[in-house]
Structure formats: structure tokens, C-alpha cells
């Protein structure tokens, strides 16, 4: 999500973000209503085909998101072999894989702003309680933007501490990190003011199809 968007002009890229998220949600529900390994394998094959052919994504874009969970999938499969049976284990693993690849296709073909716009739209009914959906969207986008930045600051503090002889990660690094993050938050607040965040219209202008 932080940097997983793969630019493109495929039919999947051009589809509305809301539609893609709805299909993803429907797929998630559908896969939990079926218990057949063949159906799960079919669903997995389908999402891979959609990703590679319809969305024209490189294999790597899908593999990057699956790689971190291989171990967990293997452990889950092993658990099922011990606790239940091969069929149940296969269904569980194939189901998760299909969902994971489907989610990867959505994130790789949809800009963050388009996903955020959907969330803003979903949050629109909360206006009656005084909630500003645009603010929710901005907070989500900023969260994605600043996660790597905070991680970078933490790495620099770790390096600085290591350079001064602290070879283990210590709880004490939380204090300088917190100070740095709070200091940055003050400047970010000013930047939001300077860039007119307080002037933001209640509804963002509709995005063009190319921007979704």
C-alpha cells in the first residue's frame, strides 16, 4: 500500500476504486461460503489471470505481497494436517492465497487517493455526527506517507546510538523518536495550514477515470 501502485492503463486500472473494493469484499464473502478445494484453486487461478493478463501486472508485483506470508501459510497448512485433514488445510491456504492476490491486484491498480476517496464516501453518513470525511481521508493518506518517514527516523536514532556504543535496541530510543516525531508534527501542521487544508471543500472534486 505504501508503494505498491503499478502505473498502467489496463481495464482494471481504469475501473472505479469503489467497484474494485466491492468485488474484493464480495470475493471475500463468497470464498468463505464455499468449502471445495477445486473452487478455491479456481478462484486463485482466476485472480492470478486477472492480475497478470487483464491488469497486465508483472508477476513480481503480486509475489511481493505474497512473499511475507509464505511462512504463515505453511504453518497454517501444517497445523491443519495435524489437527484436521489435507482437504481442510488446502481450502484454508488456497482461500487466503486467493484473497491475498486479489487484494494485491486492487492495491497495484488503484492509486491511494482513489482508495481514500472511497473511504471518504463510505464515511459520508457520519457527517450528521459532525465528522468531516475529507479529514478521515487526509489522515489515512498522511498515515501512509509518514510511516516510512518515521521508520527512517527510528533507523537514524538506532545508528546514532550504535555509533556511541549502544549495540542493542533499547527502549530509550523511543524518547528521542517521540521528540522528533512531535517536532515534525508541528511543522506538518503548519504545512497543512500553508497548503490550505483548512480551506478544503466539504466534498473533494470528482476524480477522472484516469486518476482512479
Amino acid at each position: 500500500m505504501l508503494s505498491l501502485y503499478v502505473p498502467g492503463d489496463s481495464v482494471v486500472h481504469r475501473a472505479r476504486a469503489g467497484l474494485k473494493l466491492a468485488v474484493l469484499a464480495a470475493l471475500g464473502i463468497g470464498l468463505f461460503l464455499v468449502e471445495s478445494p477445486a473452487a478455491m484453486a479456481g478462484a486463485l487461478a482466476l485472480v492470478v489471470v486477472v492480475g497478470v493478463t487483464a491488469a497486465r501486472l508483472p508477476w513480481r508485483a503480486l509475489a511481493v505481497q505474497v512473499r511475507p506470508v509464505w511462512l504463515w501459510l505453511a504453518l497454517l497448512f501444517g497445523f491443519h494436517l495435524l489437527a484436521t485433514d489435507l482437504r481442510t488445510g488446502s481450502v484454508a491456504v488456497l482461500r487466503l492465497l486467493a484473497l491475498l492476490v486479489a487484494a494485491a491486484v486492487v492495491t497495484a491498480t488503484t492509486r491511494v487517493t482513489a482508495l481514500v476517496a472511497v473511504i471518504e464516501w463510505l464515511a459520508a453518513p457520519l457527517r450528521v455526527f459532525g465528522v468531516r470525511p475529507a479529514r478521515i481521508g487526509l489522515v489515512l493518506a498522511m498515515t501512509l506517507r509518514f510511516i516510512p518517514l518515521v521508520a527512517e527516523k527510528a533507523a537514524r536514532i538506532r545508528e546514532a546510538q550504535a555509533a556511541r556504543g549502544a549495540d542493542r535496541i533499547r527502549l530509550g530510543m523511543a524518547v528521542p523518536l517521540l521528540i522528533q516525531v512531535l517536532r515534525m508534527a508541528t511543522t506538518v501542521g503548519e504545512a497543512l495550514d500553508a497548503r490550505g487544508a483548512d480551506d478544503a471543500p466539504a466534498r473533494r472534486p470528482r476524480r477522472t477515470a484516469a486518476a482512479s
Binding site: 487517493t113 493518506a141 498522511m142 506517507r145 503548519e190 497548503r195 487544508a197 478544503a200 472534486p205
Partner: protein
């Protein structure tokens, strides 16, 4: 950011006096018990104004006063006739601000999305926002990074993105707060060229004195006061001599 504390009356259609410049009338600013700016009165009408001074002299507070990010404890700041205290939003539409650290200024995950942020906030129609984004991407050599995560850009590219993000909002003036402090020599020169080519009036707070060659006016700030004010040929050598 002052969440929930909006100016009571922020008349965007308030009377604007184009070309009146930025006027500071007996401005004082205090943080806690520390007087950061003390009795500053001047008018900035020149196209390029530099502000120099030691760390902690009050330069950054001075810069923030010019677009209403900071309102003076006492005194008045007028931008083309608009009071930064009561018409902050209108002032910020006229005066863009580029921060020292672009990482604090870039708020969206990817380059194009961040460029669109300011114009969207101004209510600019979507097709015009896209046009401005494309223009800025081309102008600053960022077209190849359109959908790249902002945190993967180099320091120089980030500063260019920060400047482009401000320009996309079409301000009449731009205030730069030490825009080259975190950059290497090549990127410092590049940003200097970018500032030099801007059509807008600029106020540049900097420690890089070379940046001020060709400027119309340079202010020297010391202990919250403007202690020298004139052409760079006079003020810069005076300031350098004072540091020896």
C-alpha cells in the same frame, strides 16, 4: 495547524490592494517569555527579498508572519492590504510557503497526489488540477516519478516537489524558509536557479549568502530586530564582517 480554531471572520473577498506588498507595523512576537521579534516595521514591495541572520535570531518567525502561519503578539501584518490576523486564509492563498524540510511539507504518499493536494484544497476543478499537476511534473523533471512514493525521492527532488506543490496553488508571492539548508551543492544551485526563474515575488530566508546575488533587498535580523536593510552589496558584507 489550528484544528477547530478558525478565524472568526475570514473574508476571502476582502479589499485587496494589489501591489501594496507586505507591510509589518510595529510587530512584536513573544514565545512564552522570550521576545522573538521586537518592534519590526517595514514594507516589502521588491520582487526578491533575502533575510539573513544567525540561528535563533527570529528569521523563521519573521518568515511565518508573512503568510499568517504565525500571527504577531502585537502589531499588524498586512499582505496586499489583507490582515494576516483576521484574513489568514485569503493571505495564504496569496502567499505560498516552502519549508526547510520538504519531508514535513509533502503530505501525500505519491508525487502526483501531493502536487494535487493544494489546488484541491482551493476548490480548483479536477481537470484544472490535473493540468497543473502535469505542468509541474514537466517543469521540474518529475514526470518520470509521477506515481513514485515521495519518500524514495532524493533530497533535491523532494525540495523541488515541495516548491512545485506550492506553485500549483498559483500564489502571488512565495516565502522560502531556508530552502537549501539540507541540500548538497548541486541541488542548492538547482533550487537557486528555480527561485531565480520564478515570476512571483519571493522572500528567501537563508544561510547561503550566494543565493542572494541579484536580489533587490536583504534584511539582517539579529535578536529579533532588523539591524540592517538594503541592497545585498551593502548588507551581506556588513553581516559577514559582523560574524568575524
Amino acid at each position: 495547524m489550528r484544528w477547530g480554531r478558525r478565524p472568526a471572520a475570514d473574508a476571502d473577498d476582502a479589499v485587496v490592494v494589489p501591489g501594496a506588498g507586505i507591510e509589518l507595523r510595529d510587530v512584536e512576537h513573544v514565545y512564552g517569555e522570550r521576545v522573538v521579534l521586537d518592534g519590526v516595521s517595514l514594507t516589502l514591495t521588491e520582487r526578491r527579498v533575502g533575510v539573513i541572520g544567525a540561528n535563533g535570531s527570529g528569521k523563521s518567525t519573521f518568515a511565518r508572519l508573512l503568510n499568517g502561519l504565525v500571527v504577531p503578539t502585537s502589531g499588524t501584518v498586512l499582505v496586499d492590504g489583507l490582515d494576516t490576523r483576521s484574513q489568514a486564509r485569503a493571505v495564504r492563498r496569496r502567499v505560498g510557503f516552502v519549508f526547510q524540510d520538504p519531508d514535513a511539507q509533502i503530505v501525500h504518499p505519491t508525487v502526483a497526489e501531493d502536487l494535487a493536494f493544494g489546488p484541491h484544497n482551493q476548490g480548483v476543478p479536477d481537470d484544472e488540477v490535473q493540468r497543473r499537476v502535469e505542468e509541474m511534473l514537466d517543469r521540474y523533471g518529475l514526470a518520470g516519478h509521477r506515481d513514485h512514493p515521495a519518500h524514495l525521492l532524493s533530497g533535491g527532488q523532494k525540495q523541488l516537489l515541495a516548491i512545485a506543490g506550492v506553485l500549483a496553488m498559483r500564489p502571488q508571492r512565495i516565502v522560502f524558509d531556508e530552502p537549501t539548508t539540507l541540500l548538497d551543492l548541486a541541488n542548492t544551485r538547482r533550487v537557486a536557479r528555480v527561485i531565480d526563474e520564478l515570476e512571483q515575488d519571493v522572500v528567501v530566508v537563508t544561510h547561503h549568502l550566494n543565493l542572494l546575488a541579484g536580489f533587490d533587498r536583504v534584511l539582517v535580523v539579529e535578536d529579533g530586530r532588523v539591524v540592517a536593510d538594503g541592497a545585498p552589496a551593502e548588507t551581506v558584507p556588513w553581516y559577514v564582517g559582523r560574524m568575524d
